[in-house]
Each structure stands twice: as structure tokens, then as C-alpha cells.
């Protein structure tokens, strides 16, 4: 049972473009939504995270948009660079449950010159 659905599976954009990755969840108890970035051969690393009491969070070129009523959240990468080429995972967890993360299936992003 997949509780966090992520799309698209892969994405190719040109340098300077704005890739958007979308996630939808089913469990309304989720109250923490992180995004992880993974480079080939490495473990995932936290990129940015949001809680449902805000609709948007921005850190540098990375922005999370959150729509609680639609149970959706998305990652936007402004002015994308070749160094942003990686796999991105959305995730969700419920407070008080040892922060067990439910991950989406991942989006492989390639930023071309």
C-alpha cells in the first residue's frame, strides 16, 4: 500500500529551467513532509522540509508548496543547475511515531546544459 505517490518518475530540464516534482498522500495524520536528495552511490540527504501549518517554504533555490486540502505537496527548483541532477524523494511522517518516514518512489532529475 503506497501512502505517498510521487510523479514524475523522471524529468529532464535545461539549465535555468524550473523542474517541479509532485507528491500526494493519503494519510491525513501525516504532519511532517521532508524532501531528500540522493546522488548516485550516496545515501539520501535532507534537502528541505515543511509542516502543514504553512503553505510554502523556501530555502535558497528550493521551494516546497503545500496544499493541505488537496493532500498534495511539491518541490520547485528555481534556476536549476547541472549539479542538481540527482534523485529526489518526498516523504511523510506522523509526530510521535519515532519519525518513521514513508517515502515516495523517487524522481530522477537530469539538468542539461
Amino acid at each position: 500500500q503506497q501512502q505517498v505517490k510521487q510523479s514524475p518518475q523522471s524529468l529532464i530540464v535545461q539549465k535555468g529551467g524550473i523542474p517541479i516534482i509532485n507528491c500526494a498522500y493519503e494519510n491525513t495524520a501525516f504532519d511532517y513532509f521532508p524532501w531528500y536528495q540522493q546522488f548516485p552511490g550516496k545515501g539520501p540527504a535532507l534537502l528541505i522540509a515543511i509542516r502543514p501549518d504553512v503553505s510554502e517554504k523556501k530555502e535558497g533555490r528550493f521551494t516546497i508548496s503545500f496544499n493541505k486540502s488537496a493532500k498534495q505537496f511539491s518541490l520547485h527548483i528555481m534556476d536549476s543547475q547541472p549539479g542538481d541532477s540527482a534523485t529526489y524523494f518526498c516523504a511523510a511522517s506522523v509526530a510521535g511515531t519515532a519519525s518513521k518516514l514513508t517515502f515516495g518512489t523517487g524522481t530522477r532529475l537530469q539538468v542539461t546544459l
Binding site: 545515501g43 509526530a95 519515532a98 519519525s99 518516514l101
Partner: protein, 115 residues
Amino acid sequence: NAGVTQTPKFRILKIGQSMTLQCTQDMNHNYMYWYRQDPGMGLKLIYYSVGAGITDKGEVPNGYNVSRSTTEDFPLRLELAAPSQTSVYFCASMNGGERDYNEQFFGPGTRLTVL
């Protein structure tokens, strides 16, 4: 700080063999986790621990066992390896607390192939 370290990096097992994947963290984190990552499937939680002596099952625990005798170490044991256990295994740790909104730090992974 080395962070989260995992050994070995790669391993090939024959069906029915056993092995232990090692995980150590030097950040004094109380929470630790084991995930497996399969192509196109994201990461699935196998087992987790909220402190020494405390472990619990995640989403996909069958075929695995864990122990947590110290804060630093959280080994994952495969008793009878099966081809379905071919995967990349990640260990993670976190400074857990009442709010549980902290970052999980991941190790570099162990790529396991069962033939």
C-alpha cells in the same frame, strides 16, 4: 565526525547464507533505522530503534533481525538470504525527541546481491 558508517559497501551472497550488515553512528543519536531501496520503489523501512535495547518492526521486516546493544551500533542480520533480499540497504540515525521533526542522517549504503 564520521556520521553514519556502514560496512561492507558491497557483498554477494549465495542463497541460504547469512550475514550481518554493520551500522555505526558517532553523533550520539538515540533513533536509528534500517531501510532498503529497490529500483523504482523508494525506500522501505525494515526495522527501527528509539534507544539501546529497544527495537521495532517497520514496513518490511520479514527475513531480517536487528539488535541495539549500544547507542552507536545497529546491526542488521540476514539469516537465510533469498534473491528477494537483493537490494541497497541504508542505515540512518536521528536525534529523536518529543517533536520528532529532526533530520535523519543516512549512511552510504550497502549493495547486496543474493544469487
